[in-house]
C-alpha cells in the first residue's frame, strides 16, 4: 500500500504548486524578462536593486539568447524580451508590434592570441581574415603562424554586429564557432594564432585587443562612432509598456542604473553617445 500514498503525495504537491502559483500574484507583483545572455547580468543587477527598493515587486530575469527573447516577447509570454540585435534583423519577427527600448551601447573589438604580436589591423585586413582570403599571420606582418578563426554562434548578437560592420555583407568563412564569450576568451588565450571578437568588458589580460585603422577600442571612440563596431542593447516590449514593466524600464533608464551599474559591467550609457545610428547604419550627430 505504498504506491497510492506516493501518488496522493504527488497530487498534493502539484496542488500546492498550483495554489502557490496563484498566491504569488496576490502577495506581490512580478514580471519575467528573458533573452540575450549578454544583457542578462545588467538587467539582473538592475532587477535586484529594484526589488530591494520596492518591496513586493519582483523582476525575474532569465537568459536563453536573443532569439528566445524576441520569440517570447512576440508570443506575449513574457513582459520584456532582451536582444542584442534589432528585431528587424531577425527573420520571423513582426517588428512593428514591438516597441524598442535601447538601454545601453556595447562596443565589440577583435581580440588576438597574445603571442601573435600584431597591434594594428586595417578594416580591409580584418575583412580578409574573416572571409578566408588571408590564412597566415606572416601576410599581416606577424609570425609564420596559420590564422585560427573563432567565430561566435550563427545568429548571435556579437557575430551579427561584427559581420555587419566588418564584413559588410561578404560571406564569412566556415570556421570554429563558440557560444559564449567566456569560452571564446579562453580559446583565444590558449590557441596559437587565434583571432576572435568580443565585447569590451570581457577583454582581459589573457588576450590582446588591436587597433583598427589606428583607432583604439575605447568607450570614448565608440561614443563618437570613430570606432564603428558597436551595437545597441535592446529591451523589447509588446506594445507600449504598462504597470510594473513601465516602472522597471523607467528605473533602468534612471541614473541609478545608467551611471552606477552600467559602467561597472562595461556597457556605455546611451546618454553618453554623441551620435545615434539607425537600423540601416545611418549615423547622425546628436546636437545637445
Amino acid at each position: 500500500m505504498k504506491k497510492p500514498f506516493l501518488l496522493i503525495a504527488m497530487l498534493i504537491a502539484s496542488i500546492v504548486g498550483l495554489t502557490a502559483c496563484q498566491n504569488v500574484s496576490k502577495q506581490g507583483e512580478s514580471i519575467t524578462i528573458v533573452g540575450s545572455s549578454a544583457l542578462q547580468p545588467l538587467v539582473e543587477a538592475a532587477g535586484e536593486q529594484y526589488s530591494n527598493n520596492h518591496l513586493g515587486k519582483f523582476v525575474n530575469v532569465q537568459g536563453g539568447g536573443s532569439g528566445t527573447g524576441l520569440s517570447q516577447i512576440q508570443e506575449g509570454a513574457v513582459a520584456i524580451g532582451n536582444s542584442d540585435v534589432y528585431a528587424e534583423e531577425k527573420s520571423g519577427i513582426k517588428a512593428k508590434e514591438l516597441v524598442d527600448h535601447r538601454v545601453a551601447v556595447v562596443g565589440i573589438t577583435p581580440v588576438l592570441n597574445k603571442k601573435i604580436g600584431v597591434r594594428n589591423l586595417t578594416m580591409a585586413q580584418l575583412k580578409a581574415i574573416f572571409t578566408g582570403e588571408v590564412t597566415n599571420w606572416r601576410e599581416l606582418g606577424g609570425p609564420d603562424l596559420p590564422i585560427v578563426i573563432i567565430n561566435r554562434a550563427q545568429g548571435s548578437g556579437s557575430r551579427l554586429t561584427f559581420e555587419k560592420w566588418v564584413l559588410k555583407g561578404a560571406q564569412a568563412k566556415q570556421a570554429q564557432e563558440q557560444e559564449s564569450t567566456g569560452m571564446v576568451r579562453q580559446i583565444v588565450a590558449t590557441t596559437p594564432g587565434a583571432i576572435s571578437y568580443m565585447a569590451f568588458s570581457y577583454v582581459d589580460k589573457t588576450v590582446a585587443s588591436v587597433k583598427v585603422n589606428g583607432v583604439k577600442p575605447t568607450d570614448q571612440n565608440v561614443t563618437t562612432n570613430r570606432w564603428p563596431i558597436w551595437s545597441y542593447e535592446h529591451m523589447y516590449t509588446k506594445g507600449q509598456p504598462k504597470g510594473l514593466t513601465k516602472q522597471f524600464l523607467a528605473y533602468v533608464y534612471s541614473s541609478a542604473v545608467q551611471d552606477k551599474v552600467l559602467p561597472k559591467l562595461g556597457y556605455i550609457p546611451v546618454a553618453k553617445m554623441q551620435v545615434t545610428r539607425s537600423l540601416d547604419g545611418h549615423v547622425r550627430a546628436i546636437t545637445p
Binding site: K2, K3, L6, L7, A9, M10, A13, V16, G17, T19, A20, C21, N23, V24, Q27, G28, S30, T32, S37, A38, Q40, P41, E44, A45, E48, S51, F58, N60, V61, Q62, G63, G64, T68, Q72, E75, A77, E179, S180, T181, G182, M183, S201, Y202, K264, L265, G266
Partner: protein
C-alpha cells in the same frame, strides 16, 4: 599449458584495465578537488552569488540543487517504479510492449537541450508554471524516467522466478508478491539506479537553463511557508542550480574571480554527490535489511 597461460594473461590484462580506470578517475577527481577546494570556505558555501563583483558564494545555488533533486526524485521515483513493475511483471510479450521499450530507450538518447526546450514550451509557457523549480523538476523527470524505468525493470527481472512462485503459492496476489517480495529483493539494484539518476539530475545544466532558470533570487531562510515568494520551499520561484551556475559563470561570467568560483563550485558539487551517494547507499542497505529481514 597454453590455456593456463591465457588465463594468467587475461587476469593481468583485467587488472591493468581496472587499474587504468581507477587512475583516470582518481586523476580527474584530484584535478577538480585540488583546483577547487582551496576556494571553498564557510563564506563561499553560504553567501549568495554576486553578478559582477568578487567574493560571491554559492549558498542559494547549493540549496536549490538539493531541493530540486528532492522534488524531481519525489515525482520520478514512484512513476518509474510503477512503470518498471508493469513492464517486468504485467506487460505481455508483444509488439506493443517492444514499441514502448524502444521508445523509452530513444527518449533517453535525446539531447538534454531538446528536452529542456520541450519543457520550456510545455511547462513554462503552456502550463504557465513560469521559470520555476516545479518546471525544472518536471523536466528532470522526463529526462530521468527512461533510465530509472529501465533500471527498475532490469532489477526486477533479475530476481529468480522461484520467488514469484513462492509468493503466489502463499495465496498472495501478484501485486502483493511484487511489492512485498520482489521489490525488496531487488532493492539494492534499484537504489543504485536511483543514485545514478540522482547524479545526473545533480549535474544537469542544459535542460534546466530554459526551465528552472538561471537566476537565484535572494531567499529568506527564516520563512519556510511554501507560499511566500522568497521562501526556500516555494516551488514556484526561479532557481539556478549549482551546475547551471557553473555553466553560467564559465560562459558569460564577468566577476573577477569567475575561475575561482567555478573551480570551487565544481569541487563542492562533487563532494555533495559523494555525500549523497554514501547516504543513499547506507539508507538503501538499511531498507534492504528491514524489508527482507535478513
Amino acid at each position: 599449458m597454453n590455456v593456463k597461460r591465457q588465463d594468467k594473461l587475461a587476469t593481468i590484462i583485467l587488472y591493468v584495465i581496472a587499474g587504468a580506470i581507477i587512475l583516470v578517475l582518481v586523476a580527474l577527481l584530484a584535478f577538480i578537488l585540488i583546483q577547487g577546494l582551496p576556494h571553498v570556505s564557510w563564506h563561499f558555501l553560504t553567501a549568495p552569488a554576486r553578478a559582477f563583483e568578487a567574493g560571491g558564494g554559492i549558498g542559494i545555488q547549493l540549496f536549490n540543487s538539493f531541493y530540486l533533486l528532492v522534488l524531481a526524485m519525489l515525482i520520478s521515483v514512484p512513476l518509474s517504479l510503477g512503470a518498471g513493475i508493469y513492464l517486468s511483471e504485467y506487460a505481455k510479450k508483444n509488439w506493443l510492449t517492444g514499441l514502448i521499450r524502444t521508445s523509452i530507450e530513444i527518449l533517453s538518447s535525446l539531447p538534454s537541450v531538446v528536452v529542456g526546450l520541450f519543457g520550456f514550451l510545455i511547462f513554462v509557457i503552456q502550463f504557465n508554471f513560469g521559470f520555476s523549480i516545479l518546471s525544472g523538476a518536471l523536466v528532470l523527470t522526463v529526462f530521468n524516467l527512461p533510465l530509472l524505468t529501465r533500471n527498475v525493470e532490469e532489477s526486477l527481472a533479475s530476481i529468480s522466478h522461484a520467488q514469484r512462485e513462492a509468493g503466489l503459492a502463499l495465496g498472495l496476489s501478484r501485486w502483493e508478491t511484487v511489492l512485498k517480495i520482489i521489490v525488496p529483493e531487488a532493492l539494492p539494484g534499484i537504489v543504485t539506479g536511483m543514485i545514478l539518476g540522482a547524479g545526473r539530475v545533480f549535474g544537469e545544466a542544459a535542460a534546466l537553463i530554459y526551465t528552472a532558470g538561471q537566476s537565484a533570487p535572494a531567499l529568506d531562510f527564516t520563512n519556510w511557508n511554501p507560499f511566500y515568494i522568497a521562501s526556500p520551499l516555494n516551488p514556484m520561484r526561479p532557481a539556478e542550480t549549482l551546475a547551471v551556475h557553473i555553466w553560467k559563470i564559465n560562459s558569460e561570467g564577468i566577476m573577477p574571480d569567475a575561475v575561482a568560483v567555478s573551480a570551487g563550485a565544481s569541487a563542492v558539487l562533487i563532494v555533495a554527490v559523494l555525500i549523497f551517494n554514501l547516504v543513499a547507499r547506507w539508507l538503501g542497505q538499511r531498507l534492504f535489511k528491514k524489508m527482507t529481514s535478513s
